[in-house]
């Protein structure tokens, strides 16, 4: 060994060095560590939303593994004789009985079940919030389009994993969910009946589906999720994290704290926080009390049959859809099922997945973006995002229309009608309002830069005029406000070139140019550095005048700082 190189080292240090040396000779560790161990990550709370998703998933894996030791994926009928008295002597599937067993007879079993289920809900919630952060800050832009696609795939897989897990206990609620899934499958034109017979090995419910779903739930989907999360993180690492604009932050640097020690402690610590909070919630708040639902029987149902929250938008869509069914040559096309349950989610997820490419096409922006947009600075995108969010929320609310009806003493029918109307009008209203708000904020930013901050001090000029004393915004603030750039929309292509030859792809380029102009149309002009310099000099004059008349700005330091320039 090479311990002789460092003579006075203690045993711990010697051991550590020996280990490092051993690994370095076999793995070339130093080359890897040199560039990565102090890798810089920018610090912002919104960058941790994705971490919540990651950690929830790890918690789901850990607790799920424990559950597999006791859960029996079988619908073989048995008579329950466990310790939960209100169900004793009732025929039920082994799947349901084993879930009761986990809940009532295995110490810590209920806790693990509840952590597992809460963590699954948090997983999807955190993915959604994380994606909204990425969307509204434009973090999906070049070069991160692939990571956006991976993220969308993860969201879809998370929904799938969640729904499969929801269906496994074979309680009344989960069985009703499967019944609906089978009904949707059956409504698919041409192949519907076959799909059901293949999936369920015959008619619904059969005996095959729960064991099959189990394999999908514990092996296939989590395997895919794990692989995609790995790819997602590798790309984040390799492409380096985006950062918000600010003093000292540019598109060509990344400013923040090093992985070792700060992020090892902060991100590592956050895993424990997430796990801890999930465990505490599971100690205190019931989730999915399957013992109250009873075993699944296809002819029983409960009021308020609901899916978990992330399927709520589909439930809402199904509830909202008018009863449209076509008969074409005697064959039924069940729009009332196909549109809300298959076409709509298909469209939504395709649109989400393609969004980065659509926006890049419209704006013609081919540049790399590592500085995030402030949502107001991308007014059209932000408005589109809120538009989509509104659409989703209306569907989601209608998914709980029965609970809302009883809680607020409203009529289900009126709620459904109101939501049908809102679904069509709400998003447009949201678009217009959001865009106006963004433009207002842009205008305010411009005013702040050019006219400074209002101090609330009134000054009477020698002419008798009253003016309010303004201070220039701080350098840090100015750096953030100046982050916006004017972008010129794509020009309309000429119909013919100089030789009178028709421009190739004219129609396509015209559409694109029109869209591009619509995209940027209302943006408030950004402040140029020259404008800023002129404005600041003006503000300084005003301040000097104010000072000479005995009115002081808020912070003497600031004027001191300014006077040095």
């Amino acid at each position: 060994m090479t311990a002789t190189i460092t003579p006075p080292a203690g045993p711990v240090q010697r051991g550590a060095e020996a280990t490092y040396d051993y690994l370095d000779q076999r793995l070339g560790l130093s080359a890897l560590l040199k560039t990565n161990v102090r890798k810089i990550f920018p610090d912002h709370w919104s960058f941790m939303l994705g971490e919540i998703a990651l950690y929830s998933f790890i918690v789901v894996l850990l607790t799920g593994t424990f559950l597999t030791f006791f859960y029996k994926p079988s619908v073989t009928e048995i008579i329950y004789d466990g310790s939960y008295l209100p169900l004793r002597g009732i025929p039920m599937s082994e799947a349901y009985a084993s879930t009761l067993n986990i809940s009532f007879d295995i110490r810590g079993g209920l806790l693990m079940r509840q952590i597992h289920h809460w963590a699954a809900l948090f997983f999807v919630a955190a993915i959604s919030v994380h994606m909204f952060r990425v969307f509204f800050t434009g973090a999906f832009r070049k070069p991160r389009e692939f990571n956006w696609l991976i993220g969308v795939s993860l969201l879809v897989l998370a929904l799938l994993a969640g729904f499969a897990g929801y269906s496994l206990p074979d309680d009344l609620l989960s069985g009703t969910g499967l019944r609906i899934a089978a009904g949707i499958m059956q409504s698919i034109p041409v192949v519907g009946t076959w799909l059901v017979f293949l999936a369920f090995e015959g008619e619904f419910p059969g005996t095959a589906f729960i064991p099959r779903l189990y394999t999908i739930h514990v092996l296939l989907v989590p395997g895919l999720i794990l692989a995609l999360i790995t790819a997602h993180l590798i790309l984040v690492f390799y492409q380096k994290h985006t950062q918000y604009p600010g003093k000292g932050r540019t598109n060509t640097n990344v400013v923040g704290y090093p992985l070792l020690p700060v992020y090892v402690a902060k991100a590592g610590g956050f895993f424990f926080i997430v796990f801890g909070v999930l465990t505490l919630i599971s100690a205190l708040v019931t989730i999915n009390p399957i013992w109250l639902y009873g075993p699944y029987m296809p002819d029983q149902v409960t009021a308020g049959s609901q899916p978990d929250w992330y399927i709520g938008f589909l439930e809402g869509a199904l509830r909202m859809m008018p009863a449209w069914e076509l008969l074409i040559f005697g064959y039924p096309i069940s729009l009332n099922v196909l549109v809300p349950a298959l076409i709509l989610p298909g469209l939504i997820f395709t649109l989400i997945a393609l969004y980065p490419f659509i926006e890049a096409w419209v704006t013609g922006d081919r540049r790399e973006h590592h500085l995030l947009d402030r949502p107001r600075n991308a007014a059209t995108r932000t408005a589109l995002g809120v538009m989509g969010l509104t659409f989703y929320v209306v569907l989601f609310i209608n998914g709980g229309n029965d609970v809302i009806a009883t809680t607020f003493d409203l009529s289900i029918n009126s709620i459904t009608w109101a939501m049908r109307i809102l679904l069509i009008l709400g998003p447009w209203a949201a678009f217009v309002v959001t865009k106006r708000i963004c433009l207002g904020l842009q205008r305010r930013d411009r005013d702040l830069l050019l006219h400074g901050r209002e101090t609330g001090r009134i000054l009477r000029l020698p002419s008798g005029e009253f003016v309010e004393v303004h201070e220039p915004v701080s350098e840090e603030r100015a750096a953030i406000l100046m982050a916006r750039q004017d972008v010129r929309p794509l020009p309309l292509p000429p119909a013919t070139d100089a030789d009178g030859v028709r421009t190739p792809g004219l129609w396509h380029r015209r559409v694109r140019s029109r869209l591009s102009q619509w995209w940027y149309r209302d943006d408030i002009p950004a402040v140029t550095p020259a404008e800023l310099a002129a404005a600041q000099s003006h503000i300084r004059h005003e301040l000097a005048a104010a000072e000479s008349m005995g009115v002081l700005p808020h912070e003497p330091e600031l004027s001191e700082a300014l006077s040095r320039h």
Partner: protein
């Protein structure tokens, strides 16, 4: 429940968008308080009928007609039986406070003696289900809770929800929560089918099955929540609300703490 005062108007529906976000607490606490009338029965005496007749003329006849034959404002009471009157009056649903989609549970307007007199009078109008005797109602104490659960899930849960917390019906009607209903009231409701509820006659749902159902509901009332707070036993909707408020709130707060600058 705060929403009780809201009007059932179509225009009120959009407001729920906001209310949903605000009203998490209301969901959890959505159980009506009610008084527990003592069970009593016995053969109606002539004086009882006479007293009931007087009370009826004073408090009921305006809607149900002077002889209980019904008007445009209220259905005929001939043949509804004493059980129906007892249920409607002890739960305060009758007399109606104001015309509404559905009569709501409220403190009763008549005491036990007056209620029985009214019941005796209406029973005398035409044959109908009698108030079940105390001993019949009390059979639930020895009945099978598990069997009751099965019957409950097939006959009751579709409207009253898996935990008897109630649920929505069409056009603003609702199946009420059963958590403050007494065994006698539940029995009478099954027997008479008040308002939207269908009748579960003793012939198709025998008294021992009714006892089992009551046993299950009584068990639900005092059933512990091994997992912690029950969030109102409404199923995934309140779980989702908890997740998006307290749950994500806590984790986002933690993230903000981690990202906040230290002084």
């Amino acid at each position: 429940m705060t929403g009780r005062t809201l009007r059932r108007q179509p225009w009120a529906a959009p407001a729920l968008l906001l209310l949903t976000l605000i009203g998490v607490g209301a969901l959890v606490a959505a159980i009506d308080a009610g008084t527990q009338p003592a069970t009593a029965s016995g053969a109606p005496s002539q004086t009882q009928v006479a007293k009931g007749s007087a009370l009826f003329a004073e408090g009921c006849a305006s809607c149900h007609g002077p002889a209980g034959e019904g008007t445009t404002d209220g259905p005929s009471l001939i043949g509804v039986g004493a059980a129906s009157v007892d249920f409607q009056v002890t739960t305060g649903r009758m007399p109606l406070a104001a015309p509404n989609v559905q009569a709501m549970r409220k403190p009763p307007s008549y005491d036990r003696e007056e209620t029985l007199a009214l019941a005796a009078y209406v029973a005398a109008l035409g044959p109908g289900p009698a108030i079940p005797s105390g001993s019949v109602v009390d059979e639930w104490r020895d009945a099978s809770v598990a069997k009751g659960g099965e019957l409950f899930r097939v006959n009751c849960a579709q409207c009253h929800n898996f935990a008897g917390r109630g649920g929505a019906l069409s056009d603003g009607r609702y199946a009420p929560s059963l958590m403050s209903s007494t065994p006698l009231e539940i029995y009478e409701a099954m027997l008479t089918g008040p308002q939207s509820m269908p009748v579960f006659a003793d012939t198709s749902l025998p008294p021992e099955s009714k006892a089992e159902i009551i046993a299950y509901i009584e068990n639900l009332k005092q059933e512990p929540n091994p997992g912690g707070l029950d969030l109102g036993r409404f199923g995934p909707v309140t779980e989702g609300l908890f997740l998006w408020t307290a749950g994500m709130g806590a984790l986002v707060a933690a993230a903000i703490w981690i990202g906040a600058r230290v002084r």
